[in-house]
Symmetry: C2
DNA sequence: GTAGATCGAGAACGATCGTTCTCGGATCAG
DNA sequence: CTGATCCGAGAACGATCGTTCTCGATCTAC
């Protein structure tokens, strides 16, 4: 009996996952308000009834897609950052991750920034989630910058580069923005270390 | 008779301007799809009938607001860039302009990026206009970088900084992003000039 | 002054949206 | 097998949207 309930729970979780994936595909590629629930139902291959049983409202699905996207971002970044040793390489790995992402054919900028632009002013939950995500990213950079032994403002500069690369790549369609951001980051890192060394002397 | 027609033409242009200003206020602060034509009518203080006589559709108003915003951006940038002499100062003036903008209480990021995020995938005219605007900005930077005598890739890096500063300031609400971007820009400019000087030697 | 154009206010229209409800069939427990 | 429960397909609902139309008032030209 319990195993039966477990199976149901797993099935439900599986379907939730498929719905969120379908929703993210549609929302990310076309925006939130231009995708109807009917369209999401078709893409996810579930009935409207089940859709609303698993997610009480469209806003809940939107939040779920952003949460999923947050996990995917964290894993993607970690894959690149954990692959190298030095704090400097780890910081630069961020832009290597971006370079790979920008080359995907469905790339359309930062999903969080897009969500913030479209819904941030009218949906507090979305705005908060986006703010949290960006703050988390900046904290990650700040930690690496601290390990590197550079001033904290370097982290803010590197975050701005990553942010600008995403927007630039999205609008111009040129994945090369990642390379430019990486080169700029390397210059800034080295300059920050030079300054620190000079101040120590 | 002709003067009468001129007066009418001027009145019409005046009203078009007020409508675009009202629309830009609403669209920029809350997004495009969440502002109805009824709301715009109230904000602009005109009748729905006149609204549709002056602009055949909501999409036309959206495009008009973006065109207006493009002019305002160009004038704002020029005000800062033209005030200083050297190419280096002119490049840095861009971030001073951003710093002032970020401090306005209604600042909510780059209106073009927001438009691209919300409508770019479903409205070709919007996407094209945003792309054009960003390309124009990058050309302006490239011209200054050339005057400076640095490699062209510096312009791409500076554009990414400006882009990232806007997004970061919008999401975090911290106007300090402009200062960080400016400091990074100064470092990148000086590094580029050092490299060029070293290569020339 | 008056016919005709023009206008504002807002009702009306048709489409679309998010959400709920209906109903006939499948599923499951006992 | 049987009664109850759950489900999918899609109709239905109420709200909202972009857009057009109505109608009575106002203005204009002569």
């Amino acid at each position: 009996m319990t195993s039966n309930e477990d199976r149901k729970r797993a099935e439900e979780e599986d379907r939730r996952g498929r719905i969120v994936e379908a929703a993210d595909r549609l929302y990310y590629s076309r925006g939130f308000s231009s995708v109807s629930m009917d369209e999401l139902r078709d893409e996810a291959g579930v009935s409207l009834r089940r859709l609303y049983k698993l997610f009480p409202s469209k806003d809940d699905i939107i939040i779920a897609t952003l949460r999923k996207r947050r996990r995917v971002w964290a894993e993607g970044i970690a894959e690149y950052v954990d692959a190298v040793r030095s704090p400097r390489d780890k910081l630069l790995a961020v832009y290597d991750f971006l370079a790979g992402w920008f080359c995907e054919d469905d790339f359309r900028g930062c999903g969080f920034v897009n969500a913030f632009a479209e819904l941030g002013a009218v949906n507090t939950d979305v705005a908060d989630l986006v703010r949290e995500h960006k703050a988390h990213f900046q904290r990650d950079l700040a930690r690496l910058v601290e390990e590197l032994g550079a001033e904290p403002s370097l982290a803010a500069q590197l975050a701005i580069l990553a942010e600008g690369a995403q927007t630039t790549a999205a609008v111009t369609g040129d994945p090369g923005a990642a390379g430019h951001a990486r080169a700029a980051a390397a210059t800034l890192i080295d300059a920050a270390l030079d300054v620190d060394a000079r101040q120590a002397a």
